[in-house]
């Protein structure tokens, strides 16, 4: 194995720790954004638009503040891991809290 290949070895423990931190931020913020959109009584596309804007905004903040604009140092494939891997999970959590607060308030 050449020296260059050794330099590409990744620490699986640190990869898992970073993923857990990202997941915590995304989980809690999407649930709160869902509550907010339910209180605002957003419907159909407006609600989903709020999710997309909020999700992208939070991810960009995460990259800026916690990753210090260098996500490559902390994630193997930053675009996929930050924006795509948890997308469906966060969308379902968002819809759950959105409909919950929508039904209570409305």
């Amino acid at each position: 194995m050449s020296e260059d290949m050794f330099s590409q070895v990744k620490s699986s423990t640190n990869i898992q720790i970073n993923k857990q931190r990202l997941l915590y931020v995304q989980d809690i913020t999407t649930l709160l954004f869902g509550l907010g959109s339910g209180i605002l009584q957003l419907e159909s596309l407006q609600g989903f638009a709020m999710f997309f804007i909020g999700f992208c905004f939070i991810n960009l903040l995460y990259i800026g503040i916690l990753c210090k604009f260098q996500p490559v140092k902390y994630y193997v494939n930053p675009l996929q891991e930050i924006f795509m891997d948890n997308f469906v999970r966060e969308l379902t959590g968002y819809v759950m809290s959105w409909t919950f607060s929508y039904a209570i308030v409305g």
């Binding site: 990744k10 931190r21 954004f33 209180i39 503040i65 210090k68 902390y74």
Partner: protein
């Protein structure tokens, strides 16, 4: 989680609940005072007041700030900590490059392969016995 983060989180949650309650009251009032058969133009007049909308957005902003403030820079306590020193690399996340990740282990004095290298079969028992005997003599 720092105290500032906890305070901001509390303020944000209370503000969000207050906005929710205001929105609930508004919709209850709307239900009791409007006719279902009203035209859509008239119904548009009864949108959620701007102050409630603003309250929701501000509370979401405060909550987001509090969540990001809850992250502290990673700190490590060395195993042989004689001077009560705390090691920090000034980062919020752990570097995934193995060459960088092992830096922390070296600084802290931790052996990541210790669960193998300290197995009884891997340890030089004779040397350890000699070491213990010398230690006991010094007491």
């Amino acid at each position: 989680m720092s105290i500032l983060s906890k305070v901001l989180f509390g303020v944000g949650i209370i503000q969000l609940l207050h906005a929710g309650f205001s929105s609930y009251e508004f919709h209850q009032l709307l239900k009791s005072s409007t006719n279902i058969n009203e035209s859509s133009n008239e119904q548009k007049l009864y949108q959620l007041p701007n102050d409630i909308k603003l309250e929701v957005f501000i509370s979401l902003a405060i909550l987001t700030v509090s969540i990001f403030l809850s992250f502290n820079k990673l700190k490590y306590y060395p195993i042989n900590n004689k001077n009560d020193e705390i090691i920090t690399e000034g980062e919020y996340l752990s570097n995934i490059q193995m060459s960088k990740a092992s830096n922390v282990d070296n600084l802290v004095g931790s052996d990541p392969t210790g669960y193998i290298t300290y197995l009884p079969n891997m340890v030089d028992i004779q040397a350890k016995r000699k070491e213990v005997a010398e230690y006991l003599k010094t007491i």
